[in-house]
């Protein structure tokens, strides 16, 4: 039970090596061993999504993954997004659209929607709502979260339209 394993992965572009018990979850290692407390723990059984991080670009419940499973993977947490003085596009949209109240679920939603909007260039409102339904928020009733994601989608579509249809330029316009 208490044997220790050493595991290495990249977190927000930094190589990290930790020695942990095999049963330690990724979220606990991010929070306790690496001090990245922005990723929250809401249920520890994969329902609420507050612990969502990106593993190789895909959203993952970090409470359902053991840290040792992340060997050689690339992990992004909410700390990789904008800072208070320089919020990124999605964070700004959460702010202007009132996409958060208590803020506990927010890091999970930000990471979830970062991946969703990277993968889907022009989702319908319904598809956005379906993606938002992956995680739980107990405060907002999701209205502001859906609006924020739609606002980012619209802004990116406008930016792409302004740049034109040249695929190279199109990719460059993507943040």
């Amino acid at each position: 039970m208490n044997e220790l394993l050493t595991v290495s992965f990249s977190v927000n572009g930094r190589r990290e090596t930790v020695t942990v018990e095999p049963r330690y979850t990724l979220v606990d290692v991010l929070r306790h061993d690496l001090g990245l407390t922005g990723t929250h723990v809401g249920c520890e059984h994969g329902i609420c999504g507050a612990c969502t991080v990106l593993v190789d670009g895909l959203p993952v419940r970090s409470c359902l993954v053991f840290a040792v499973q992340a060997e050689d993977r690339s992990i992004e947490t909410v700390e990789s997004l904008g800072s208070p003085d320089e919020l990124n596009e999605l964070q700004r949209a959460f702010s202007t659209e009132h996409g958060l109240q208590c803020g506990f679920c927010t890091p999970g939603f930000l990471m979830l929607l970062t991946a969703f909007l990277a993968e889907h260039e022009a989702p319908t409102d319904e598809e956005v709502r379906g993606a938002v339904a992956s995680n739980l928020c107990r405060c907002t009733g999701y209205q502001g979260i859906v609006r924020a994601a739609c606002a980012v989608r619209d802004a990116r579509l406008r930016a792409r339209a302004a740049v034109g249809s040249d695929p190279a330029e199109d990719a460059a316009a993507r943040p």
């Binding site: 107990r138 009733g141 999701y142």
Partner: protein, 781 residues
């Protein structure tokens, strides 16, 4: 980002983690607690039971009234447990993993007792007692009648209509559970408790009281709080216990509730039953209302509001917005072997509205007036305000009729737009309404009338302008998602004539802020907002006096305009707020002795109470083959007076409605007959997700109140109050003629049962819509 600071994000040198050993039985005596195996687990530092800790007094929440039986809530069980999840021992270890390993290894031997896990079981003659001091397991028993002649009113009434409803047991389910980090400060001799609470000063009082300490020996800090919704407006036993362990070990100790603990042992709410009868005149007016209410309050009485909180609110507020002159109520609180209840957004109002609004629909059906017109016949008209209802509540200003008419029109339009298509797909469509008032921001007089032994209600705020001209506001409330940093800054900035970004708001630290009651009952913007507006006004007066001295003018002639103080009509020579602040601190030699010793004021506000009102409308589609209910549209027309920040108002409405949707269709904690909770994870406890919530159409009417400094009324709970009633009425409308559902959450099985029990299936069945029978809707009065 990720820079929030919730309790679990905090660290301390030498920190140890705590896990609880919790009761596996609902009713038992503890015959032995064996710690030996646990102490051998790697990483375990200590196993502590009640006998190991210095005596901790139980929490005792009382009402000073004869209908109430006070009971004690032990902070840690010594020889008896009364619900599954009650704490029996704590294990302290160098990690949470090790602490939980240790907790699993603690051996507890029980002698089981017979559990009573429902109101019916608990009130059966000869039932075992949860508390020996509460005969019949009844802890609150309130009877009230406005008139001895009520039975005669019923006998002579053209119509008598009935409604019975029951509501499921819920968890408020803040996404961050409860969490504590306690330490003992050797230098000050203080226990310092960081806790995820809505009420830091109340927690301080409880911790100090239970541990036998002077209050100033306890400091409570609430950092970022991940939702509360009432569950954190009462004191948790764990808050006292973690503080006691830190004092005992002289080490920082952290406990973070996991979801299973939260669902099993956290405060629950709302398991109630209503039987209502109304005498209705031929013209649709409700001549009398007769109510029987039973609340399952669980095993203990929550501190400080007591387990009477649901019972008394149900009895007091049931008549709602209506002009009902004759009212009789019998309301009881029954103890059972389940986790104790606490307030949850709206407390008893969602259930009371559920019962009353179902009854109003029955009255509309019996009289042929329909749901809108029958409500209009009973709602006060504009010239009846200020309106005093049968329980003496004084509604000073409101728009019940206008909001109903507007909401009915929007909801009916939404029904019409889906009805045809729904029928084509073999689905039943229906619409439902709910009208309610939201009493909020109670002051000391209202809480005092409830006869609480601890009377909350006032609020204090300190406003300090420092030498740089920036403003610090300190209030005894605590934001956990309500946006106080925004709205408080707006209120103070408006008064002081500075930009809101110059204003910083601090809450949630008993060493820093004036004594206050925290954030619950939709009180913050009214109570703390009022206090800080008053404190700001005191500072404006002070700044005018300083400016008058410097300008060699009379104080009456100096005004604050656009952030500058100048003699009225002579704006050329003036001082900015920043300049006055600098002089008040650093240039007081230029001022007479009574001026210029800093700029700080503390004021309080003790509100009379406000009454927001709203109408909610729901449109549902029901699949008679599967029993599935889809909420397709939701309308809110609300009136909270002046909106300080409309975006935050809408956020509170949408969040409340979503919780209402959860309680109407999804959420319930179920126990078996032995008191074992059967819902212990979010796999079973279904919180609404984004696809369970339609886009919510929100309209506002602004009827200001003169009872607050800003004209704003408390409004944090309304969303949760009206939604279950509107949804239940919509489901019954969709089934109308086919059967009746009388419980929430409404499960597919309830739809089937209603259809089975219904008179007959009609293939031509269709909701008549909301507006049948309604007259002259265009001209609300």
């Amino acid at each position: 980002m990720g820079r929030g600071q919730f309790v679990d994000d905090l660290d301390r040198r030498g920190l140890v983690e705590l896990a609880f050993v919790r009761s596996e039985m609902a009713a038992a005596d503890i015959s032995r607690i064996g710690a030996r195996a646990a102490l051998k687990v790697a990483g375990v530092i200590a196993v502590l039971t009640a006998d190991d800790l210095a005596p901790i007094a139980p929490l005792r929440a009382a009402l000073d009234r004869s209908e109430f039986v006070a009971t004690e809530m032990p902070v840690i069980a010594r020889d008896r447990v009364r619900h599954v999840g009650e704490a029996i021992a704590v294990v302290v270890a160098d990690s949470r993993y090790a602490a939980e390993d240790g907790a699993e290894s603690v051996e507890v031997e029980y002698r089981s007792r017979q559990a009573v896990a429902s109101v019916d079981e608990a009130t059966r003659p000869g039932a075992p007692l949860v508390h020996d001091e509460a005969p019949g397991n009844v802890v609150v028993d309130v009877r009230w009648s406005s008139s001895p002649a009520i039975d005669e009113v019923f006998e002579g009434a053209p119509h008598v209509v009935r409604a019975e409803v029951s509501t499921g047991r819920l968890s408020a389910l803040p996404l961050e559970g409860r969490a504590c980090l306690a330490s003992f400060d050797e230098r000050t001799g203080q226990v310092v408790l960081y806790s995820s609470t809505q009420v830091p000063h109340t927690v301080r009082t409880a911790v100090a009281g239970c541990l036998g300490l002077d209050e100033h020996r306890v400091r409570v800090v609430a950092p970022d709080v991940g939702g509360g919704f009432g569950q954190k407006c009462v004191v948790a036993r764990e808050e006292v216990l973690v503080a006691a362990v830190a004092r005992h070990l002289r080490r920082p100790v952290k406990w973070v509730e996991d979801r299973r603990e939260s669902l099993i042992a956290g405060f629950q709410a709302r398991e109630q039953r209503y039987e209502l009868r109304a005498a209705v005149g031929a013209d649709g007016s409700v001549l009398a209302l007769d109510a029987d209410v039973v609340c399952d309050v669980g095993a203990y009485s929550c501190y400080p509001v007591t387990c009477g909180v649901e019972v008394l609110m149900a009895a007091n507020e049931l008549p709602g917005p209506y002009r009902i002159d004759t009212y009789r109520v019998h309301a009881r609180g029954v103890v059972t072997h389940k986790a104790p209840i606490a307030p949850f957004r709206g407390v008893s109002r969602p259930q009371a509205a559920l019962a009353l609004e179902r009854l109003m629909n029955e009255a509309g059906r019996a009289t042929g007036l329909g749901p809108v017109e029958v409500r209009l016949r009973n709602l006060p008209t504009a010239d009846e305000f200020p309106f005093r209802n049968v329980m003496g509540a004084r509604y000073d200003a409101g728009s019940c009729r206008e909001s109903l008419v507007k909401c009915a029109a929007a909801t009916d339009a939404a029904l019409q737009s889906v009805q045809k298509q729904a029928r084509a797909r073999g689905r039943l469509a229906g619409a439902g309404l709910a009208v309610f008032v939201e009493p909020a921001a109670y002051g000391t007089s209202a809480f005092g009338a409830r006869k609480m032994s601890i009377v909350p209600g006032y609020e204090q705020a300190t406003v300090r302008i420092d030498a740089s001209g920036s403003v610090l506001v300190m209030a005894g409330t605590h934001s956990h998602g309500q946006g106080h940093a925004t709205t408080y800054a707006q209120i103070v900035a408006d008064e002081l004539g500075v930009s809101p970004d110059k204003v910083q708001v601090r809450e949630g630290d008993t060493e820093l802020v004036p004594h206050g009651w925290g954030t619950f009952a939709s009180r913050s913007i009214v109570s703390a907002g009022g206090a800080m507006a008053r404190a700001s006004a005191v500072l404006v007066e002070e700044m005018r006096r300083i400016a008058a001295h410097l300008l060699e003018a009379a104080v009456e002639d100096v005004e604050l305009r656009d952030g500058r103080l100048a003699v009225r009509g002579s704006p050329a020579s003036s001082f900015s707020v920043e300049e006055i602040a600098k002089i008040a601190h650093h240039g007081s030699n230029r001022l007479p002795p009574e001026l210029g010793r800093g700029l700080e004021a503390t004021e309080n506000f003790d509100p009379e109470g406000t009454y927001s009102n709203a109408a909610h409308g729901a449109v549902v589609e029901v699949d008679p083959e599967t029993g599935e209910i889809e909420l397709v549209h939701f309308v809110v027309v609300e009136d909270c007076g002046v909106m300080i920040n409309p975006m935050i108002v809408d956020g509170q409405v949408a969040g409340g409605v979503t919780q209402g949707i959860g309680s109407a269709l999804l959420e319930q904690i179920v126990h078996d007959e032995s008191g074992q909770p059967l819902v212990t994870s979010l796999i079973d406890y279904l919180v609404p997700t984004a696809t369970d919530v339609p886009a919510i159409e929100i309209h506002h009417i602004e009827t200001p109140t003169s009872r607050t400094t800003t004209g704003a009324k408390g409004m944090g709970e309304g969303g949760a109050i009206g939604a279950p009633a509107a949804i239940l009425n919509a489901v019954n409308d969709s089934l109308s003629g086919l059967g009746v559902v009388s419980r929430v959450p409404i499960r597919p099985a309830d739809v089937f049962e209603a259809l089975d029990n219904g008179s007959h299936h009609e293939s031509t069945h269709q909701s008549a819509g909301l507006l049948s029978g309604a007259h002259d809707l265009g001209v609300p009065t």
